[in-house]
Amino acid sequence: MKKQLLIFLGTMTLLVAGCGEEESKGVEPAVMTDALFAVMKADRTNYTKLIVKRMGPQGVNAVMPVEHWKDVDNGIPLPAQMFRAGSEAVADMTDSFTYSLQSLWPINSQNAPKTDVEKAGLEYIAANPGMNYYGEETLGDTTYFTAVYPDVAVSDACTQCHNEHKDTPKTDFKVGEVMGGVVIRVPL
């Protein structure tokens, strides 16, 4: 009887002790990357609307948004270049996530996908307009959650420049087409 009571009390003690621990309240990786992309989208939209369109040739014509903006007195980065500048600034600040603008048809080959997951993601979003791609990959000794979001040709300015660029591998982009993707990577 005494032995049974001791076993029972011991079991109850273990159970109660386990109840005291709080469960870790983490954020799902997809929730984090979706939130990051929401900020990126908003900033890029605002740069396009408030600076490029308002101050550029279609507005007051005070600035010139152009690829080689550093060579022009009133030159400013194109929205995609501003986006890249942001990703470089983030990479200087933190390793908690990285992001980049990539394409299956890059003008600059360094923006082509480098991993199988990046390639699969870019292919998926091109084939499924409006959808995101989520995957995992191990690079070195770290496993990452990798999300790929569509980058869309939203105006003639996008398609015309890309289609006519001397280094473009694709010359028939249309407005509304997925031209590439934003790859956001979070270590797990």
Binding site: K41, K49, P129, G130, V154, S155, G176
Partner: protein, 122 residues
Amino acid sequence: MGRLCSNLSGRIVRPLLTLIALSTLFGCSNPEEEARLAALAEGEAIVKKNCFVCHGQGINGAPIIGNSKMWAPRLEKGKEALVQSAMNGFGLMPPKGGNTELEEADIQLAVGYMMSQATPEK
């Protein structure tokens, strides 16, 4: 009492059961509702092919389909105003979402579908 119940059963219940059976068998058609659903299905198909690429993601500020917060001020403008915006372009949205082959009737259906997905905030 038993005879009364039996009479009632014959005069009321049996015809009522017959009516219910016939209604179930042949269905109660509502042409207006059927037309509304058909228009939504057609609109959905147009949206998936042309609009979802931006409105699925909120690219360039496009109100995300089903996002009641983004759609609330748009719903207040009314369908015709939204159709005109889509036809002529609005903000960073190109006319007809970039597909110049779409007719106004297509835009009406697409806008109707997207509005139907934006339920008011509770």
